[in-house]
C-alpha cells in the first residue's frame, strides 16, 4: 500500500485549474458544481468525475467546508513527541486512532511526530494529551499558538 503522502494520480493542466479555483471558495447556489464548471469551461460531469478521482487518489485530502473549531468554542493545538525509531509505527497507529488528532506528520528531527489536536471544547485538549501519554507511554509537548500572524492554506498548483 502506498504511503498516505504519495498520491496515485498524475495531475494534468485541468486538474491544476480545478485545484486552484476551488481553493478560492465555492458557491452556495443550487447547482454549485455547474457554476464552477462553467467558469472553468468544462462540463459539470467532468468536474465531478475529476474531483472524485482526485479525492480517491489523495491528490486532494478533502473537499468541503473548512471548520474553525476555535470559533465554535473548541481548540486547535499543535503538539510533538520524540519517538524512538523502533517504536514509531506502533505509536503512530495509536495517535492516528484518536478522533481528536486532525493531522499528523512525521518530521526529520529528534521531535519526529507532530500532530494537531482539534477538540470541541478547550478542556478536550488536556484530556486528549492525557490519553496519548497514557496510551503511548511518551511525553507530549504542547505548542498552543499564542499569536497568529498569518494563515492562508492556499498553495498554487503551478
Amino acid at each position: 500500500m502506498p504511503e498516505p503522502s504519495e498520491p496515485t494520480r498524475q495531475v494534468d493542466a485541468t486538474d491544476k485549474r480545478i485545484i486552484n479555483t476551488l481553493q478560492d471558495g465555492f458557491p452556495l447556489g443550487d447547482e454549485p458544481y455547474r457554476e464552477v464548471a462553467e467558469r472553468l469551461g468544462i462540463s459539470e460531469e467532468d468536474l465531478l468525475a475529476r474531483l472524485h478521482a482526485m479525492l480517491e487518489s489523495r491528490v486532494l485530502t478533502r473537499f468541503g467546508p473548512m471548520f474553525q473549531v476555535e470559533r465554535m468554542g473548541g481548540a486547535f493545538v499543535l503538539a510533538a513527541m520524540r519517538i524512538p525509531e523502533a517504536d514509531f509505527e506502533r505509536v503512530a497507529a495509536l495517535v492516528n486512532g484518536l478522533p481528536e488528532v486532525a493531522h499528523n506528520y512525521r518530521r526529520e528531527h529528534a521531535f519526529n511526530m507532530w500532530f494537531v489536536l482539534a477538540t470541541e471544547t478547550r478542556a478536550g485538549i488536556a484530556a486528549a494529551i492525557d490519553d496519548i501519554t497514557r496510551l503511548t507511554g511518551y511525553a507530549v509537548h504542547a505548542f498552543p499558538k499564542e499569536r497568529e500572524y498569518f494563515v492562508e492554506m492556499k498553495l498554487d498548483a503551478a
Binding site: E3, P4, S5, P7, V11, I18, I19, Q23, G25, L28, D30, E31, P32, Y33, R34, L48, L51, L55, V59, L60, T61, R62, F63, G64, P65, M66, F67, Q68, V69, R71, M72, G74, P99, A102, H103, Y105, R106, R107, E108, A110, M113, W114, F115, A118, E120, H141, F143, P144, K145, E146, R147, E148, Y149, F150, V151, E152, M153, L155, A157, A158
Partner: protein, 163 residues
C-alpha cells in the same frame, strides 16, 4: 457549542459535511434530505457560518506533494520576545509562508517561539526562502531550525462525534 450560537441543526450539518461536501449536482439538496430540512436552510446555515468565521471557506485541500511542493518545512526560530510580534507579522506577510504563529518555548529542549511553514519544489528552494526569513529576523534571531515533513501520517481535519 451553544455559547457561540450554533444549534443542533448547525452541529448536524457540520457532522454531515466534515468528511466532505457531497459530489452530486445538487449537494445542498442532498444534505437537506439527509437532515430533514430544505436546501435553502442548508445554504443559509452555511452562509451564516461563513460570515461568522466558523467556516473559513468551502474549498479543496490539496496534498502538497501532489501539486509539486515536495519540500514542506516547518521553520522554527528563537526570536527575542520584545520583537517577535513585529517580526512575526513581517515574516507572515511573505508570499511563500502559509502559516505563521508565535508559540511557547519548551525549554531546555525547544528554544523556538516563532513557527513559519515554508513550501517549495525542493529543499534548495526552501533553503533560499529560509535565508530570506533569516535576513528579516537578523540579530533578533538567536537560533533556528527547519523540520521537513517526510510522511503524512494522518490528514482528516476536524471530526465532531456523531452523537
Amino acid at each position: 457549542m451553544s455559547d457561540v450560537g450554533l444549534d443542533d441543526l448547525d452541529r448536524r450539518l457540520i457532522v454531515a459535511t466534515q468528511a466532505g461536501l457531497p459530489l452530486v449536482s445538487r449537494p445542498y439538496h442532498l444534505l437537506g434530505e439527509q437532515l430533514g430540512v430544505a436546501a435553502a436552510d442548508v445554504q443559509a446555515r452555511l452562509q451564516r457560518m461563513l460570515e461568522g468565521g466558523q467556516i473559513r471557506r468551502i474549498g479543496a485541500v490539496p496534498n502538497h506533494y501532489a501539486i509539486g511542493y515536495t519540500a514542506n518545512g516547518m521553520s522554527v526560530w528563537d526570536v527575542a520576545d520584545e520583537h517577535v510580534d513585529a517580526l512575526g507579522a513581517t515574516v507572515g506577510a511573505l508570499a511563500f509562508v502559509t502559516h505563521c504563529y508565535r508559540r511557547p518555548r519548551s525549554l531546555p529542549e525547544w528554544p523556538y517561539n516563532l513557527f513559519a511553514m515554508v513550501h517549495g519544489g525542493g529543499r534548495a528552494e526552501v533553503a533560499e526562502k529560509l535565508a530570506r526569513i533569516a535576513q528579516i529576523l537578523g540579530a533578533d534571531c538567536r537560533a533556528h531550525d527547519v523540520l521537513y515533513s517526510t510522511r503524512i501520517l494522518k490528514k482528516t481535519g476536524l471530526r465532531l462525534a456523531k452523537t
